[in-house]
Symmetry: C2
Subunit: 330 residues, 2 copies
């Protein structure tokens, strides 16, 4: 299989490339060829014995999508996006990358399809940002998309395009609405959602983290490891059972901040928990109040998608994947 | 008020222009100026005493949207679209007119907004084609959009864009999902939905009509008169109660073909009904089976939108509006 990852320098892109390189397999099939594309230079994953190509390309630039698709990858993982905060501040950039970039990619596939009957599998990383408050306590699989950000709007449009192009036989697409990824590795970031990861990742290595909201705040999470599992499954499963409803709400763990902290206490003790500094931030609290707390995701579960069922599991996955399996003494 | 109608040569555009010209009012406000735009030449409505401008323009052509918006209309009625069948057959044309045309219009408004703080009311004619089977018996106001046509996809994208541009304060937009319009005036057309109108309109004037489906088929209708009422209300109401859920499922009449025919019999007698020729067409039956039968539309009803409650009313409205109030002897 030849796999193209667009957005390969992002957190999920890097982890996906690393997974494919290390295992050499995607589902039941060997990975012969891996093409990594991003607007910032992607890094070559270690241990890959197949053919590797790396391109630094802006997918929305003229000809860039056609260049990617000329290589006729069997699977296209489309993860490239301007993130929520930036797409909200920079209206033009958000629409250019998140909408035009996606459409140019699909149009490049359509052009190749018209020439050679090429029909790749396309996995589109969508987001629960397609939803906007007010919400029911548990969001069902048939709940409507009323995004409250330009990012969510652009993701919802990408889902619609992906389904229409699939229905016309141009590609075999699936859009997966990822939960908030927790624990995000790396340095704390300034995203409004950053604290969900910060309050676990930082105390685990003996560093302070700021908690800007109340313990009762509920949100919907999946680990990076679960997210890679979602992407691999979406890339390899038979999509016939989805009909023309090619977008899935994914399983995740619905948990309060208090439940996150209780899991941290069980795994790393009171001294770790003591590193969480409570600094209520009404602005962040207001943003987070508009985010969903729980999803039914029955359709995706029935199709074999699975996520963690406790924050203990999520923390253990982080320790294994990011800290070499060892919890530092703090 | 200056009102711009884009798609002014279409059935609803013509009727809307005629209504505004005749009454000289839109809601509580006088109509001082009317600008009619379409890719085929719009006809001047009779009896308008204000300032009238008519432009034959393709909204997706370079500079066309900017030309429309340079006139700074207070209200933009965006009704222009390639219809369902054509958008499905001609992929490029459908996306060019229905998606790019809409986006270019919104971008022209954004450019004018950036220059002069212009914020028009925008009424976008969407469609129940944003929904795709399978359906619950009655579609709720929070049901998801999984269109099964490119037309429905493009309308759903237009709704998302309209809401995002409104949320950014660029325009004050509302999208209204029109039921199937029945009785459509004019000659029978080849659209799969045409028979819903044909089997009433043609027998009322002593002509035969073909019924390609079973009497038990249920669909969701509103008269042209109700549709104009929807557009006027959407153009003039306070949109604050909608929040950022700027798309409404509209009220309509859910009725079976059998109920349509029973109403025709009550109003025009057995001889009219005898003009309906049953010619089952499995292809049309299959298409129609994928269409929705009923909507809750509670939100729009609470906001004062109203449609007919019986097919007798719909037929009487047609006789009044299209046949001069006189039922011909047949």
């Amino acid at each position: 299989m030849h796999i193209l990852i667009i957005g390969a320098a992002g957190m999920l892109g890097r982890k996906c490339a690393a997974h494919l390189a290390t295992t050499g397999m995607i589902g039941p099939s060997p990975v012969n060829s891996l093409t990594l594309v991003d607007s910032i230079p992607p890094v070559a994953p270690a241990g890959f014995s197949g053919s590797l190509a790396i391109h630094t390309l802006d997918i929305s630039a003229p000809g860039a999508a056609a260049r990617c698709i000329a290589m006729r990858p069997d699977i296209v993982m489309h993860l490239a996006a301007v993130v929520s905060g930036e797409a909200e501040r920079d209206f033009d950039k958000g629409y250019r990358i998140n909408l035009d970039g996606t459409r140019l990619l699909f149009e490049a596939i359509r052009a190749e399809h018209a020439r050679t009957h090429y029909i790749p599998r396309v996995v589109f990383a969508s987001s629960i940002a397609v939803f906007g408050a007010p919400f029911p306590p548990v969001i069902g699989d048939e709940f409507f998309t009323t995004p409250l950000t330009s990012y969510g709007t652009q993701k919802a449009i990408g889902e619609l395009l992906l389904t229409d192009y699939s229905r016309h036989g141009i590609m075999d697409g699936i859009a997966i609405r990822l939960p908030t990824i927790c624990i995000r590795p790396g340095a704390p970031n300034a995203a409004a959602s950053g604290f969900f990861s910060n309050i676990l990742r930082e105390p685990l290595i003996g560093r302070e983290a700021v908690l800007p909201v109340d313990d009762s705040v509920r949100h919907y999470h999946a680990s990076p490891r679960a997210a890679i599992g979602f992407m691999i499954r979406a890339a390899t499963m038979d999509l016939t059972p989805l009909g023309w409803r090619r977008t899935l709400n994914l399983p995740g763990l619905s948990a309060t901040v208090g439940e996150q902290i209780a899991a941290l206490r069980r795994i790393a003790g009171d001294r770790a928990v003591a590193l969480i500094r409570r600094e209520p931030d009404p602005a962040i609290a207001r943003i987070v109040a508009g985010w969903p707390g729980d999803f039914e995701a029955g359709r995706a579960r029935a199709l074999g998608f699975a996520a963690e069922t406790s924050f203990d599991e999520i923390i253990h996955a982080h320790i294994e994947d990011e800290l070499g399996g060892i919890l530092p003494a703090i």
